[in-house]
Subunit: 323 residues, 2 copies
C-alpha cells in the first residue's frame, strides 16, 4: 500500500491527511495557520506531517504534497507569492524535506483541487477537464491530456480574471470586468444587496431574511430563500448561472475539455445555478453541432479536493523522480 | 537525414513541401484545391506527396503531416468537419496511407502553424506559447509544455470565439461578441468603412485611397495609409491592437504562456498594431508584477508555418508510433 500525505494550507487553517492510492483518506490532522509568520507556517506543516506519519508504518509514507493559494514555481519547490500568507519566494519544499526526509512537491491549491477531482472525483473518467471554483472569487484548475496545465510561471488557470465585460466592475486584481466580478459568491451578494436596497415588493422575502438590512444579506441566505421558491432570489441565482455558463463557453472555446467541474460555496445552490449555467453554455458554445456539449457537473470531493489532489501529485511525482 | 512531407490544404490551393529535421524546406509542390469534391482532394494530396517523394531517395521520406482547416479527431486520422472543403467525417489519413504506404497524421491548420513556429520559428526557445492568427477571422494554436493542446474533440484553441463583448457584433459561429469580431482583418475593414462612410474631414486620406467608395476599402489600404502617417488609419490600427492585447490578456490568465506569436495578414501592419497590443496587454494582464510580461512577437514562418509544422508533427508521431 502506497500512502502520501496531502496538506492544504489555507489562510486560517492547515488541513492534512494521509491518502491511499485510491484517493481514500486514512487519517486527518489540522492546525491553525500562523499566517503572518513564514517560519511558523513551515513548522506547523512539518508538525502535521510528522503526526500523520506516525499513524503508519515508517516505510509506507514516502511523499508529501502541499497545496496552497499562490504562485508556485515550475519545479513545485518554491512559493513565489501567496496573497494570504507571509510567503515571498519561500523555498518551502526544501524546508519540509530538511525536517522530514520525505519527497515534497508544492502545487497551487486550485490546481491541486482540480487534480483531486480529476483523479478520484467527478472527472475521474475523462482526459481533459476544467475545474471552476465559485467562492468569494472564481478560481480554477485545468487538466489537459492527463496533466495539470501549469503554464510558464505556474500561473495558468487564473480563469476568474478572464475579462467578460469591457469597462465592467473593478476587480481586486486591478482590472475591470473580470469573470469573478459576475460569477462568484461575492457577485451574488453584491447583486442581492443592490436588489434589496431598491425596496421593490418583489424583494420582500429577501428583505425579511436579512432583517431589512441589505448589508446583512449573505449568499447562503439568497440560496435558502431561492430553495423556498422565492422568485427574486431565483432570478439572482439564474443571473449568476448565466454568467457562469457564458464564461465556461469561452473556456471551452480555448480548452475543449470533456467536463467542467463546479466547486466552491456557490455550488451548494445546485441546479438553481447549474441549470441556467448549462442552458447559457449550450446556447453560447462555439462549434455547437460539431461536438458533444461538455458536461457541467458538481464537484464530489468538497473541501478535501486540494488535500487529496496534493497527496496524489506528491506520490506521482516521487515515482517519476525515482524513475 | 530524416525528411517529412508537409501538406497545407487550403480552400483554394494545396501547398506541400519536403521538410528536413531542422525545419528547412527542401522541395515544394502545389495544386489547385478541388474544394467541392472530397475524393478529388485526397487524390490531389496523394499526387503532391508522390511528386515530392520522387525528389528524395526512397527510404529518406517516411511520414506525411497534413494541415487543414477544420476539426480533426483525437487520433489525427479523420477530418470531422471542414468549413471550406467537402469533407464530413472523412478518413483522410487512411486514404493517403492506402495510396502511399507512408505514415500519415492530420492536424488542424492553426495548430500545425503554431507547432511550426514553436519548433522552428519565433517560439523555438520556449516551452509554452500561443499563436494568434489575425486574418479574416482570428485563429489560434496553443503549445503547452512542449505539446499541442488539442482538447477532447481536437477543437481547442478556437480563441477567436472567446466572447469579449456581451451582446456585441454577430459572429459567423452564431454567437455575438466573439473576439474575432474585434481583432481580425474583417473587423478592421468593417470599422474603416464605417469611419469613411461618416464623411468627416479626418478620413480624407482613407476616402481618397478607395476612390470615395467605402465598400472598396481593404485592410491593406488602411495599413498603407497608416504607414504614410495618416492619423485616422493609425487610430483604426490602434483600436484593433488594443482589442488584440486585451484578448491576449484573457488568454494569458488562462494559459500563462511565455510567448504570444502573432501571424496572419494583419501582422503585416507590424508595430502599428503590435505596439498598442503590447501596451493594452501590459495594462490588462492579471497578476502583473508577479510575473514577466509575456512577449508578443511576429511570426517568422509566414504561410509556410502550417506546412512545416505538419511535416514535423508527422515525423515526430511516426517516431513515437514506431517506439
Amino acid at each position: 500500500m502506497s500512502i502520501s500525505i496531502g496538506v492544504d494550507v489555507g489562510g486560517t487553517k492547515i488541513a492534512a491527511s494521509t491518502v491511499d492510492e485510491h484517493g481514500a483518506i486514512r487519517h486527518r490532522a489540522r492546525r491553525e495557520t500562523p499566517a503572518q509568520d513564514a517560519a511558523a507556517i513551515s513548522a506547523a506543516i512539518v508538525e502535521v506531517v510528522e503526526e500523520l506519519r506516525e499513524r503508519h508504518r515508517p516505510e509506507e509514507v514516502q511523499a508529501v504534497g502541499v497545496a496552497c493559494a499562490g504562485f508556485i514555481d515550475a519545479e513545485g519547490a518554491v512559493v513565489r507569492f501567496s496573497p494570504n500568507l507571509a510567503w515571498r519566494d519561500e523555498p518551502l519544499a526544501e524546508r519540509i524535506v530538511e525536517q522530514t526526509g520525505l519527497f515534497v512537491v508544492l502545487e497551487n491549491d486550485a490546481n491541486a483541487a482540480a487534480w483531486g477531482e480529476f483523479r478520484f472525483g467527478a472527472a475521474r473518467d475523462v482526459a481533459d477537464m476544467v475545474m471552476v471554483t465559485l467562492g468569494t472569487g472564481v478560481g480554477g484548475g485545468v487538466v489537459s491530456n492527463h496533466a495539470v496545465l501549469r503554464g510558464t510561471h505556474g500561473m495558468a488557470a487564473e480563469i476568474g480574471h478572464m475579462r467578460v465585460v469591457p469597462g465592467g466592475h473593478r476587480c481586486g486584481c486591478g482590472n475591470r470586468g473580470c469573470w469573478e466580478k459576475y460569477a462568484s459568491g461575492s457577485a451574488l451578494v453584491r447583486e442581492a444587496r443592490e436588489m434589496v436596497g431598491g425596496g421593490s415588493p418583489h424583494v420582500a422575502e429577501l428583505a425579511a431574511r436579512c432583517g431589512g438590512d441589505p448589508s446583512a444579506l449573505t449568499g447562503g441566505m439568497v440560496t435558502e430563500v431561492a430553495q423556498e421558491g422565492d422568485p427574486a432570489a431565483r432570478e439572482l441565482l439564474e443571473d449568476l448561472g448565466r454568467w457562469v455558463g457564458e464564461g465556461v463557453a469561452s473556456l471551452v472555446a480555448i480548452l475543449d475539455p470533456q467536463m467542467i467541474v463546479i466547486g466552491g460555496g456557490v455550488s451548494a445552490a445546485g441546479d438553481l445555478v447549474l441549470e441556467p449555467a448549462r442552458a447559457a453554455f449550450a446556447r453560447q458554445l462555439t462549434g455547437r453541432g460539431h461536438r458533444r456539449v461538455a458536461d457541467i457537473v458538481v464537484a464530489q470531493l468538497g473541501n478535501d479536493a486540494g488535500m487529496i489532489g496534493a497527496a496524489d501529485l506528491g506520490g506521482a511525482r516521487r515515482l517519476e523522480a525515482s524513475g
